[in-house]
Symmetry: C2
Subunit: 716 residues, 2 copies
């Protein structure tokens, strides 16, 4: 069945020739022999076959192919082969092949005595092993994606498939085999021999390379592929072509992006186009926030009718401003935006922040297009329109009509929707979340998530990114930026519209296998992003991830004062893909020294409810100091013996001592008790321990998100 490791030689010219012929003939699909030729050119195994002109030739061919064969009449005059008795399957053995040849030819003659008979096609019959589906399709967001799944009911009914952006690496191809629910089947469930995983993965790689090399291939189905212990072979090939050239989206180099983003985020001078002295106007709020937020650079209010606004000299137009401007924040009605964009462009302002609404979101698509065209013409990049503005705390920059925010920290948040932006602000304020940036993206007429990721990747003040998004303008650009930054910093994504499953006109099997969201889900994971299931989770991950050190291994230990919390924390560990460490006997013995005889060592370590602070302290310290343990989950139970704040203070102290000694392990805590546990949780959070009252799930989910990122970045 050939080597199919994905690295073999490829014959691009052969594929190009087939595709050009089809296009020259105005076809959007390839014939079966053409599909076969394309597969061969990229080393994708298909069943052996040949044409026999006699019974003897048929016997020889069948022997070469080995195993049972299918035999079919080949005649330009016989269209319906089966009706002519021209198809026999599962033919085994010399005698049977010879007989079948004669029978087929006789049948054809009986059907049409005048028919010209070219011969009989003899084709290797595949069977045994498992039928799988491997395909590629062209996604409107991500471009070429490959899909893998088992056949039959698993794909048809359960949609048990997995997607990856093409091309895939060897590791990614292997991960596809493991990513379906029925993965066990291929590993040899029920005592069967496992299939050749390398052969299957190689086939996926080759297909992904093929559609990447030839973007004019719209869809490519190998269905079924027979996966056996000895190899993988595509029994049926179906290829559809793009009727037209596909335009490439506008892209910028990393350098170009960084040049503009650095001026946006760390400006020396900001102009406010439409600045106003009038209370209640957006142009007034923006001015106030820039000033009271503490921005140290120059602020140029632009207003044709004012000479001074909020104590600052105002300019009648951007043209009048004496120095360079890094950012122009717009607070003028939509209709004035195109001319103002042209004006800032003429003055070499590299980026305009378009707060105004009244564009595509209200149906005024033409106005937005006019703005985008004007901006491109004048080399101005656009943030928005239809946004609340943006914050960048390292520069004390609050270029927004919302209220200032000043709790500095490592998390950068972005939102496509203004409502979600407001929720981010409120949540951040109430939890005192340390923030580097909050950015509204709104209509995303130009600057989008990949521009921001490129900046945040380079930004030492940002240690973690959280993004709310409803769609991606350019999924591939996002993927590439995300894959780079997630090697270094966690990126959390709340992808809204998960369930809309937009009605996709899917012309092929592969295309119809999943709604948009499955593709988003798989490819976001492939990019290394941690996906949050909802808004509340996105916010909690954003708050918690920068607080937690990166775990250095998978061994998680639960230490709990409440057996009941221990059970729920264990459930949460399983739900979040965490591994409860099997405690080695010596470590078990060490823990036992600190806990009552009826307490339970093992994992969870149940220190029991009536214990004094010293027991929490000793066990937590042991958990931190033993190098075989990589992360701690603490379940606290409010008692008179160890009140909440006593617990919080001792835990914070022990963790801080350990960190001072170079022991950096993530520690999270669940606090069960009366209302004092709220203050105790806040105290813990302030000291680098992700702690929550009244829930066993939240702290473990945050730890799970940290682990998901650390694994994708290859750190654990």
């Amino acid at each position: 069945m050939g080597t199919a490791n994905g690295d073999g030689a490829t014959d691009r010219d052969a594929v190009r020739e087939v595709l050009e012929k089809a296009r020259a003939e105005g076809r959007e699909s390839l014939t079966a022999p053409e599909g076969r030729r394309v597969c061969e050119a990229y080393g994708i195994p298909t069943p052996g076959e040949g044409l026999a002109g006699s019974a003897e030739e048929a016997v020889t061919l069948a022997a070469e192919l080995g195993g049972p064969v299918a035999m079919k009449i080949v005649s330009p005059d016989i269209l319906h082969k089966t009706e002519a008795g021209g198809v026999l399957v599962d033919v085994r053995g010399e005698q049977a092949v010879a007989q079948a040849y004669e029978q087929i030819v006789a049948g054809a003659r009986a059907h049409d005595a005048a028919a010209e008979i070219t011969g009989v096609q003899v084709q290797q019959m595949l069977s045994g092993g498992h039928e799988v589906i491997i395909g590629a399709t062209t996604d409107p967001t991500f471009g070429k994606v490959v899909v893998f799944g088992l056949g039959g009911v698993l794909v048809e009914v359960l949609k048990d498939v997995t997607f990856r952006l093409a091309p895939v690496s060897g590791g990614e191809a292997i991960s596809m085999l493991d990513d379906i629910a029925a993965a066990e089947v291929l590993k040899g469930a029920r005592g069967a021999e496992p299939v050749d995983r390398d052969a299957l993965a190689g086939l996926i790689r080759r297909l992904s390379k093929l559609v990447t090399d030839f973007p004019q291939i719209r869809e490519f189905d190998l269905n079924p592929v027979f996966a056996t212990p000895g190899g993988a072979c595509a029994a049926d090939v179906r290829i559809l072509l793009e009727p037209d050239e596909v335009p490439e989206p506008q892209r910028y180099s990393q350098e170009e992006i960084l040049r503009v983003m650095n001026r946006l985020m760390r400006p020396s001078a900001v102009a406010v186009v439409g600045a106003s002295a009038e209370e209640g106007k957006i142009g007034n709020s923006v001015m106030k926030n820039l000033i009271t937020g503490g921005f140290a650079g120059k602020i140029y209010p632009i207003n044709p009718k004012a000479d001074e606004i909020l104590g600052l000299k105002a300019y009648h137009s951007v043209d009048e401003v004496p120095g360079d401007i890094d950012v122009a924040v717009f607070a003028v009605p939509a209709k004035f935006v195109p001319a103002a964009v042209a004006e800032v462009g003429r003055n070499d302002v590299p980026v305009a922040v378009l707060i105004p609404s009244g564009f595509a979101e209200t149906g005024n698509v033409a106005l937005q297009e006019e703005v985008v065209a004007t901006a491109r013409e004048h080399n101005v990049r656009l943030l928005g329109p239809n946004i609340y503005g943006y914050y960048y705390t390292p520069q004390n920059l609050c270029a927004t009509f919302c209220t200032p925010y000043d709790v500095k920290g490592g998390i950068a948040l972005t939102s496509q929707s203004g409502g979600i932006g407001m929720a981010i602000l409120g949540f951040a304020r109430t939890t005192k979340m340390g923030v580097s940036a909050i950015v509204g993206l709104g209509n995303k007429s130009d600057v989008d998530e990949d521009d921001l990721l490129t900046f945040f990747e380079s930004d030492d003040d940002t240690t973690c990114v959280a993004m709310h998004l409803e769609d991606l303008k350019d999924g591939r650009a996002f993927f590439e930026a995300a894959r780079r930054i997630t090697r270094k910093k966690p990126v959390i994504v709340l992808k809204a519209g998960r369930t809309s499953m937009g009605a996709r006109a899917a012309s092929s099997h592969t295309g119809a296998l999943a709604g948009d969201d499955k593709i988003y889900d798989d490819i976001l994971r492939q990019s290394g992003v941690v996906r949050a299931p909802g808004l509340a989770e996105m916010l909690e991950y954003a708050r918690g991830l920068p607080v937690l050190p990166t775990p250095k291994g998978e061994n998680v230990v639960i230490i709990t004062g409440a057996g009941g919390s221990g059970v729920l924390l264990s459930d949460a560990c399983v739900d979040n893909g965490l591994t409860l460490m099997e405690i080695p006997p010596d470590l078990d013995e060490s823990f036992r020294r600190f806990i009552p005889p009826f307490g339970a060592a093992g994992n969870p370590i149940d220190i029991t409810g009536g214990e004094p602070p010293a027991t929490y302290e000793a066990t937590i310290r042991l958990g931190l100091e033993d190098p075989r343990i990589h992360a701690l989950i603490i379940g606290y139970w409010h008692t008179i013996v160890t009140p909440p704040m006593v617990f919080a203070e001792l835990t914070a102290r022990v963790v801080e001592e350990a960190r001072a000694n170079g022991i950096n392990k993530p520690v999270v805590a669940s606090l069960a008790g009366d209302t004092e546990v709220e203050q105790a949780s806040d105290h813990l959070f302030d000291h680098g321990i992700v702690a929550h009252p009244y829930t066993t799930e939240k702290p473990v989910a945050v730890l799970g998100a940290k682990y998901r990122w650390a694994r994708s970045a290859g750190l654990v």
Copy 2:
């Protein structure tokens, strides 16, 4: 294939005879012919078969059976039929049957010339349709349960099965067919003809009746059952028997339970055994809480050394107490409990609340057993041991060492774990949750969830119940109590230990199909209980469900000021099984009258962000007044035009006006904005609207939980 609607006549005597014979012979399994006879007696179709003594008889039999047959040698001397060439399958046609007969007999003779040959068994071969598995097993918690699933990889690898408590009704049996992930397959996916669902459901019912009638049947596998458009037939039957009699758990009648529970919850007199004047002692805390909690009945402190405690006359023993005692709350060390239980029993106290720990939870099982035996002997029911006590607010009763709680309301909460009980108390206090009862169950040596459910069912002060539990002592008693109460009041269950999957010694296929949790999950749902995925959800459902009116239909409408929230709220609706109403044109038109032209009617109804309070008010009022709408989800976006409290007050007012006019629809709200949305959410909650800041998921999840309950109670 026989009628298999589950209502047909049954022949119990035939089954009894088979089972008695097997038991008499000391067997724990039935032979194939015995299994067949048992199936026949309950109308479970099995393949036709017969014994042929000659080739002619075989031909006649095969013709009667119809279709292909399997043929097997029948000989007392041939144990390994296949080795003797004694098995042929898929034999079709007169000639082939006759030949097969001769071949089998010849093969047998060649194998063992001296073998006595009884004849050849001719059995109908089933094929076509779908192979399914139907079985019954004996669960340690729930007793007889039935299972259903499709065969092959779906069961083996994906564990796509569903369980029900036996016996099942017709509706429950049908629900099993729909409850597996691959349900579509049976409905005729890929253009196939659907199977005979009634026949399959009937087979499930009959099997469930059989194992209910004969509890000595431990396991019963029908695997595979062939499900076709024309019927259902069990191709293979496997029955295992209980080696010993199974003892019935201790059960009380509803009347007995209510008599004791009413005295526990609404006592006229409470004795505190181990009452203490000494600060810091549990017997002191309990006394204080009873007094400061405002309990209006008599309180009898019992202490051998005191004459007065906290201003109340104390008694040296229970014997000295002049009047009747309804409850004795114990605050003495564990070792004194047995004697004290005997003492309260002698004084006709019907129930003892055992706060002390030091029993089974610390390994002291013997002491606990002694207490239980003593209590049973003296006709005393026990709550605990190892609990924080209990609260019942309608009686201002705080019989606990924790702090008093006085926010009265309809929700009763119970917990198996003390830690979780403390989390309940803290959460309740911080959210001002209206509570009727909080009860600790601890070691559950006697009183357990079904006793409490029976009381709460009858208690007009309780409108909703939430229970944390790790196991059920008697799953069937719980099921029956839960099924009764959930017809009237929602019951929320947090089942901890979901993922432990305890190592079950499963001797049969059916038994091995799922971990404990899958059985819990299916049977809790069957009982009408709403299962909470975690502690935080249990608490939010408990807080929210009593606040929301019961929906009268499935039409849910989202009204939102933020498009971004609308998308996330829609996702949450799908996640929580809610149906977004398709808005009829006239209603769409009505909504459009209130919103800007670029706003989106449809559902979500996006009124857009810049709208004044009047737009929220008009659209919410319309949503409440139109009788085709059954529930509202509101997405609020904080703006200067409509600040949070303005929104909260207008929404509360509109909803209250509607309720005054008899319009009772559940309304939930998600508030996105700066920190003022927290106060606004509280205001809404206080006015019967489940509202949460910074999350789109929580309010929808609470509405979803209300719907789940309402559907199970047949109210929607």
